[in-house]
């Protein structure tokens, strides 16, 4: 295994790319031999952030979603960026159940899921400039690696 590794990916904000983004980050994190639960946590958190970029940041328009990820030691760092409309009040947005689309089937639980499933969550946003979500997760010791990779 490489001691450090990183990757960058970008794709248009089509909802079909939500599952693609999950698979990409999951496959990258797989290099640390995560447990199935750790892998599911990562995929879920990435899905939340990418979905937010698609539905909130670009709202009906099509923009670019960018993901950078790095493996540093046994920690996955992942950053999801959009250049969409931005968040006016990040603190409010991060509250459980807060959603700016209350009429729809949005639950307002996206940020709460990210926070719960990852070890850290940082949200940087500027109106009309876009939003960057940074998350980290430590992957527990490699249980069943065969050693040679």
């Amino acid at each position: 295994m490489q001691a450090e590794n990183n990757m960058h990916i970008s794709f248009p904000s089509y909802s079909v790319n939500e599952s693609f983004a999950r698979v990409v980050v999951g496959a990258f994190a797989a290099q640390l031999n995560p447990t199935l639960e750790e892998l599911a946590d990562i995929k879920t958190a990435v899905s939340e952030a990418v979905t937010n970029a698609i539905i909130h940041a670009y709202e009906g328009t099509v923009g670019t979603v960018e993901i950078s990820a790095a493996l540093i030691g046994r920690t996955l760092k992942v950053e999801i960026r959009d250049r969409g409309k931005g968040i006016e009040d990040v603190e409010q947005a991060r509250q459980p159940f807060y959603t700016s689309s209350p009429g729809t089937d949005r639950s307002g639980m996206g940020f709460t899921v990210m926070e719960t499933f990852m070890d850290s969550l940082e949200v940087e946003s500027a109106l009309d400039r876009g939003t960057t979500v940074r998350m980290e997760k430590h992957i527990g010791a490699d249980q069943n690696g065969s050693g040679e990779e």
Binding site: S15, V16, E18, S19, R22, E37, A40, D41, K43, T44, S47, E48, T51, I54, I55, T104, D105, R106, S107, M109, G110, T112, V113, T116
Partner: protein, 102 residues
């Protein structure tokens, strides 16, 4: 995404298969709302055993169907979810509104 539905008395048992994310949420909502037009249905039982993924978009879909059922004095139950989905449902407080069967 595919949903198998089965009427059992006044209950509708629905088994969505695949990944319940935002991309598939509209489809699942519309399929379920289509079935729930039948006001004779008083309970929606969601068998989640074939869901391979669910994020907060799934919470929204279930919450929305809770509202539909509550309007007619009915309820929503869930069963056979993976431990990951169980954690998401717990986190969201949904178990205060829906039954967990089994």
């Amino acid at each position: 995404m595919l949903i198998r539905c089965e009427r059992q008395g006044t209950a509708l048992k629905a088994k969505p298969a695949g990944e319940l994310d935002h991309h598939n949420a509209d489809f699942v909502r519309e399929e379920l709302e289509g079935m729930l037009k039948d006001e004779g249905i008083k309970e929606l039982v969601l068998d989640l055993s074939s869901l391979t993924f669910m994020d907060s978009s799934g919470i929204g879909v279930i919450l929305g169907r809770c509202r539909t059922m509550q309007k007619r004095g009915g309820k929503v139950s869930v069963m056979n979810m993976s431990s990951q989905i169980d954690r998401i449902l717990k986190m969201s407080g949904l178990y205060q509104l829906i039954n967990k069967i089994g």
